[in-house]
């Protein structure tokens, strides 16, 4: 199941809220009439969600690396002690 690039670009603009009211209405009509196209829109929405989650996972891993660095390396021992004291 392939989408044309023009459809992909149009769906992207729709999901970003960049279409005019008329363009939006046309697209929504097409979604209502063509189940394949409706599915394409849903798949693209899901793709963006997955990409966002992937980006978040990457950031989370970066932050975890920084956290470990601050709480295990001797260079940051004063910072570490300052924070650990709060929970003792």
């Amino acid at each position: 199941m392939q989408t044309s690039w023009n459809d992909q670009i149009r769906i992207e603009a729709y999901l970003k809220g960049e279409l005019t009211h008329l363009q939006q209405a046309k697209l929504q009509t097409r979604m209502a009439c063509e189940s394949d196209f409706y599915e394409q829109v849903e798949h693209q929405k899901k793709s963006l969600r997955i990409i966002r989650n992937h980006g978040r996972q990457e950031l989370k891993a970066e932050l975890e690396q920084v956290h470990q660095k601050l709480f295990t390396t001797s260079k940051y021992s004063r910072f570490r002690q300052r924070v650990l004291r709060l929970f003792s």
Binding site: I50, I51, N53, L86, F87
Partner: protein, 182 residues
């Protein structure tokens, strides 16, 4: 597509330095807030990191020289997240009808986690490109340089191909899940 992922490294290096600065400037205050309310280090870490990600998604990377703006926003986020966490915990224990909605949310979350895991293996390079454009909001000419494309047009074409690939994977996986569930 450039196979060398270190092409993307410069942004990660910049972010690493920024996270280090923000952590040292802001985490003690967050830890103090959480510990005074009976939370532990793990909770403080999770909430702080979520607040940083929330800030990043809303405003992009903060300026190294100006910590005041992110400081106020991040502390505000931490407080909101903390209060929401404990409000939701008591709401879930009281509301029985919430269970079926929650099951559906969890199913959808597990479904998408499986897809992401599959895409990590099958489409690592595509995910990196799509993440750079859609999540990190990098301009296409910068992406072209970092990923080794000939120019902006080439990056655009590759972006669309990658998105099609992800959508196709979702379509194929949704068919196999549907077969499994019948």
């Amino acid at each position: 597509m450039n196979n060398n992922r270190t092409a993307y490294a410069p942004q990660k290096v910049i972010r690493h330095e920024l996270w280090l600065t923000l952590y040292q400037e802001l985490f003690p205050a967050v830890a103090g807030f959480i510990s005074r309310r009976g939370g532990d280090m793990e909770e403080a870490k999770d909430i702080f990191q979520d607040a940083l990600i929330h800030y990043f998604e809303r405003f992009g990377m903060p300026d190294m020289g100006d910590i005041i703006k992110p400081q106020a926003y991040i502390m505000g986020s931490v407080k909101n997240m903390w209060h929401k966490k404990y409000k939701q915990a008591s709401k879930y224990s009281k509301d029985q009808n919430r269970d079926s909605d929650l099951e559906e949310e969890i199913y959808e979350e597990v479904n998408e986690k499986r897809l992401l895991h599959f895409l990590h293996k099958a489409g690592q390079k595509c995910l990196a490109l799509l993440s750079a454009f859609y999540y990190h909001q990098r301009p296409l000419d910068e992406i072209a340089t970092e990923f080794g494309f000939s120019g902006k047009r080439s990056a655009t074409v590759q972006k669309h191909k990658c998105l099609s690939k992800v959508k196709q994977s979702i379509h194929e996986k949704s068919l196999s899940y549907a077969d499994f569930m019948e």
